[in-house]
């Protein structure tokens, strides 16, 4: 072992310990998903897989339309993410690269909306959705958030810091239209920022509880977090099924993070160093 590697050993060991601590809850969710309900709360907890997976699976399917709920969660999260990426990048591009009258005021207004706590909007928002006839559809969970303030802010900051104006001027001289610039230059160069926005939006939509709880009243039209909450009871022990449902709900998020972690880190650190 070289002297340099030896010097780095304590840091690596510390990181490994913290890594294990952070990974443990995720590991436990998958382990407990494989134990029957009566074994889920045993103490000390099981650390290795059990033989209750099939039993839990059957109980899960018997209690909620799990596949349907999965489809709803996936559909809503995917549409929200794609929509957010498209519209927030457009808005971010305008705020970052155009100089127009009222730009600062508009941008300030967008930022200010982030300061309003979500629960304050809930009742008027719900009334509006009733008026639109959107209750029990995906629309209220997708459409109003398509150009979210956070996404606009994120993309504005990213595009301001990461894409030089000279590049856009060159594209214009070469005859690209504004939409062409967006499609051929902004989107490809903004991939790290888009990855961050995509992950944040997908995770936010996937984990959203209050929205689907209020807006999707039918069990077959609701999303995973709400459907799984129905398994939370005190007498009828569904903990095994609940753990399995949680594990399967967690899977897409883990996959997203594994595949996009490099881009997310690149996106989060973009512009951190002045060149």
């Amino acid at each position: 072992m070289t002297r340099r590697a030896l010097a780095a050993l304590p840091a690596h060991l510390t990181l490994a310990v913290f890594g294990l601590i952070f990974a443990l809850p995720f590991w436990m969710v998958f382990v407990l998903a494989s134990w029957p309900a009566r074994e889920v709360l045993v103490f000390p907890p099981h650390l290795w897989f059990g033989n209750g997976l099939l039993e839990n699976w059957q109980q899960l399917l018997a209690r909620i339309p799990f596949a349907r709920n999965y489809f709803n969660s996936f559909g809503i999260a995917t549409l929200s993410t794609l929509g957010n990426i498209f519209f927030c990048t457009m808005a971010g591009y305008a705020f970052a690269k155009y100089r127009f009258k009222g730009r600062d005021f508009l941008y300030g207004f967008v930022i200010a909306t982030m300061a309003v706590p979500g629960f304050l909007n809930l009742i008027p928002f719900y009334k509006m959705m009733v008026k639109f006839g959107w209750i029990n559809t995906w629309l209220p969970l997708v459409v109003p958030g398509l150009a979210g303030a956070f996404g606009i802010f994120l993309m504005t900051q990213f595009l301001t810091n990461s894409i030089p104006d000279e590049l856009l001027d060159a594209a214009r001289i070469d005859g690209l239209t504004e939409f062409g610039i967006l499609r051929r230059i902004i989107f490809p160069l903004a991939k790290p920022g888009l990855a961050v926005l995509g992950v944040v939006t997908f995770v936010g939509s996937w984990n959203n509880f209050t929205g689907p709880l209020v807006l999707l009243p039918k069990v077959e039209s609701t999303t995973l977090p709400v459907a799984l909450s129905a398994l939370n009871s005190r007498v009828d022990n569904n903990l095994g099924a609940l753990m399995l449902g949680n594990a399967l709900t967690l899977l897409p998020l883990i996959i997203v993070f594994v595949f996009f972690s490099k881009r997310i880190i690149a996106g989060l650190t973009a512009g951190a160093v002045k060149q």
């Binding site: 709360l41 000390p44 009733v130 709880l213 209020v214 009243p217 909450s229 007498v235 009828d236």
Partner: protein, 414 residues
């Protein structure tokens, strides 16, 4: 213009006097039901029963179930928005006060429901909890949770203590000391007893418009917690945690102060071996309630749907068949007192070593005192639990914890 006004006035009078649409046995109804926890499991069995199908072949019920908190959040939001909810919405007793005076729920004492005809057979305290100052009944009690003492007979015998005739809390603590040997915990946590002198924390937080009065009642509850803690008879087990369930599974918890429903949790998964547990009155034969469910019809439900919803509520709350099915399914103790005379109430229960526990549940249910509920109850309960934690952790004396809680409550509600 005058004619237009006359027409409008007449139309308004006509609408007001128009009788609410009656239930039509020839028409098909799909009633929607918003509930939480185990209710769907119990009521799905009721709606599958031959008796229900014979009486209401034209009604099907569709559930919207969430967890306890989620259900009440959804209901509060939609009612506050003044929009249509499910036809029937379940309410836990802890939330009932919030809706009693706040409005949004149909008065079931009014025509065409006239629930007063049926409530005479329902436990009085539960009906009182759901009745407004002006006499409106905003929900029908469907199940209650009479508080009792669950105890392990084998451990009590071994320790040489009699748990079925404890005269006061001091005797209870003395018994717990004898039980707490060899790794056995007398009780899961000191805070488990705090709500009993306060009728389970279900109402009764105000006296003469003043919160936490009479003072002695509340300070004594905190002193009881302090005594249990000082006796070192608890396992410091947070309810529904891994160590808590493991202690029950290992047979290390000797007693539990809880509502009748807790028997279902013990029986189904926490301590399923029959014959070990028994039930007794609480020390000093205190009568208290530790939970309960109510069924309501929100005002925003259209009249024809209200009629069908009321038929379903009527069946669930006043039919012995429905009440007993729910009791068997999830240990939801009937709110309907006529059921207490059913032979099933006198049956020995194998899980409790053949003890006739239902007689005790019924006796407690009939003697639970009425307590005035208020819309601040949930908020006060949160602050009160903080005071209990301070006493358990030794951070405050009962007097200091009481004073602090009172200050916080006053600051919040005034």
């Amino acid at each position: 213009m005058k004619r237009l006004y006359s027409f409008l006035v007449l139309a308004l009078v006509a609408i007001t006097l128009l009788p609410a649409q009656a239930f039509d046995p020839a028409k098909k109804y799909e009633v929607t039901f918003g509930g939480y926890g185990d209710l769907e499991k119990a009521y799905a069995e009721v709606f599958k029963s031959a008796d229900f199908k014979a009486k209401y072949p034209n009604i099907t019920v569709k559930f919207q179930t969430a967890d306890f908190g989620g259900h009440h959040t959804r209901l509060t939001t939609i009612l506050a928005a003044g929009e249509q909810t499910n036809d029937i919405e379940a309410l836990e007793v802890g939330f009932i006060a919030q809706f009693v005076e706040a409005g949004g729920l149909t008065d079931l004492n009014a025509a065409p429901f006239k629930a007063g005809v049926f409530t005479k057979d329902i436990v009085k305290f539960a009906v009182a909890n759901a009745t407004t100052d002006s006499g409106s009944l905003i929900a029908m009690p469907v199940d209650i949770a009479p508080a009792v003492l669950f105890y392990r007979e084998d451990l009590a015998k071994k320790a040489g203590v009699k748990m079925d005739a404890l005269k006061n809390w001091d005797e209870y603590i003395a018994a717990l000391k004898k039980l707490s040997v060899g790794g056995v915990y007398g009780i899961e946590h000191p805070s488990a007893v705090q709500a009993i002198p306060l009728n389970g924390g279900k109402g009764g937080w105000f006296s003469g418009g003043k919160p936490l009065e009479p003072k002695a009642k509340f300070v004594d509850a905190l002193k009881l917690v302090e005594k249990v803690k000082a006796a070192k008879v608890d396992g410091d087990l947070g309810a529904w945690s891994g160590p808590w369930s493991q202690a029950y599974l290992d047979g290390k918890v000797a007693t539990a102060v809880n509502g009748a429903w807790f028997g279902g949790t013990l029986r189904t998964w926490l301590s399923p071996e029959p014959g070990k547990w028994r039930v007794a009155y609480l020390p000093g034969k205190i009568m208290a309630s530790l939970g309960g469910t109510y069924l309501s019809i929100p005002q925003t439900v259209p009249a024809p749907r209200k009629a069908a919803a009321w038929e379903v509520i009527k069946y669930l709350t006043t039919s012995p068949n429905a009440q007993l099915i729910s009791f068997r399914a999830i240990d939801a103790f009937p709110a309907l007192t006529t059921v207490y005379k059913d032979p099933v109430m006198d049956e020995p229960v194998a899980f409790y070593g053949g003890q006739k526990v239902r007689k005790i549940f019924a006796d407690v249910a009939l003697n639970i005192p009425e307590n005035k509920v208020s819309e601040y109850d949930n908020l006060i309960l949160g602050i009160w639990n903080g005071a209990v934690t301070s006493v358990v952790n030794g951070k405050a004396t009962p007097e200091a914890a009481y004073a602090d809680a009172l200050k916080k409550i006053r600051a919040t509600i005034e």
